[in-house]
Symmetry: C2
Subunit: 228 residues, 2 copies
């Protein structure tokens, strides 16, 4: 395990480089650093929960976080998987409402926290940050439209192929490391069904399965299966 509780300095934070804060000046980074606190999260720890009151924003320094919503039967639907550099939990602050989704770590993670007040102050005085956020929200809305269309029109097999490609780009060099249940909740199907389809894809040579971990072998083929 490479990570343990440690203090992170925004100026040295590699994941900041790819975040909403990437365009900050040195003095802004200094200010940011001054206002944030850091925390280590073990695997499967909640970051924030649906229907709770937002108190600030979370900045994912390392690790991965699933963002999900519970359906009426209590089943999780994973909406998004966040990686290092992403800022979480700020939408509910703008909507002036409770969190509409929950977030939980998928692996050990270091996550910084900035209070609502400090974040909104930064927003007031920082045009670039505002523009970055507008851009980010708009891009996310475009992605959600794709998800809705996929859920409504694609078969589970197609969605699984699509999800594996997405996860491959999230896990980069590593093998995909999600429980079967999480994977099913991401694809939007029952666990049993997911397992059967995984086996199919394995037999077709698209993926390799190492117990829990999944390695993508043939992206081209998966892309074809996913229906473009």
């Amino acid at each position: 395990m490479n990570s343990n509780h440690k203090h992170i300095t925004c100026a040295n934070c590699l994941s900041r480089k790819s975040s909403l804060f990437s365009t900050f000046s040195d003095s802004q980074v200094e200010d940011l650093n001054h206002h944030k606190s850091c925390a280590f999260y073990a695997k499967n720890q909640p970051v924030f929960l649906e229907d709770n009151l937002p108190r600030g924003v979370f900045c994912l320094n390392s690790g991965k976080v699933k963002v999900f919503k519970r359906g009426s039967e209590g089943k999780e639907q994973i909406i998004h998987i966040a990686v290092a550099g992403e800022i979480l939990g700020y939408k509910a602050m703008f909507s002036g409402d409770l969190y509409k989704v929950s977030a939980t770590t998928l692996e050990e993670s270091n996550i910084c926290f900035i209070s609502k007040e400090d974040f909104l102050n930064m927003l007031d005085s920082n045009t670039t940050l505002r523009n970055n956020i507008l851009k980010e929200l708009s891009i996310e809305l475009g992605e959600r439209a794709v998800s809705i269309t996929n859920m409504a029109q694609k078969s589970v097999r197609e969605r699984l192929a699509f999800a594996l490609l997405m996860l491959d780009s999230i896990y980069k060099e590593e093998a995909i490391n999600l429980s079967r249940e999480d994977l099913a909740n991401f694809v939007g199907t029952a666990t049993e069904n997911l397992i059967r389809l995984l086996k199919e894809l394995k037999e077709e040579g698209c993926i390799e399965i190492h117990v829990r971990k999944i390695e993508v072998l043939d992206k081209e083929k998966l892309l074809r299966i996913s229906g473009k």
Copy 2:
């Protein structure tokens, strides 16, 4: 037909009152009025199209507009139905990208247009507008998370009940007036299936069907069927 090509004055625009521009001062409204142009759209006319370059924003003065995305088979998935007062087409401007969805009128509509440049200028000088937009985008993202969860977890029958309730609040006093195909593309199912389920709901006394138009009779029951 109550509407035909006419010039709309922002100061008198009733739908502006419920829009992102609701908080404008008199002089800002004046400015807005000066920069916009008006157009009448017949039924089923495109407002903007997926993959096109955004040139400005559209302000729906009267009528209704479906916002949809095409799946890989070309089938429309309706993401949202916009009503009077809504501003359309601004997300792609922020993301600096092409439109990710298309928009088409569902009935005769009056729609005003504000160029990209003018809109962005307004944005620069108007904190409240910015905040309204941040809020609006955040709320929409919350709604999309609900849609994704519904699509992934609810049966078509449940989704139909849910969709009818949503449409009932969109059409207010009027009966729901959508083609079977549009309704199916909103619910996310095949037209034939939709028709069968509509008949079921009619036989259960939830709705009345007047040829093409659908009247909601029992909201309570629909809510129960939709799975809360």
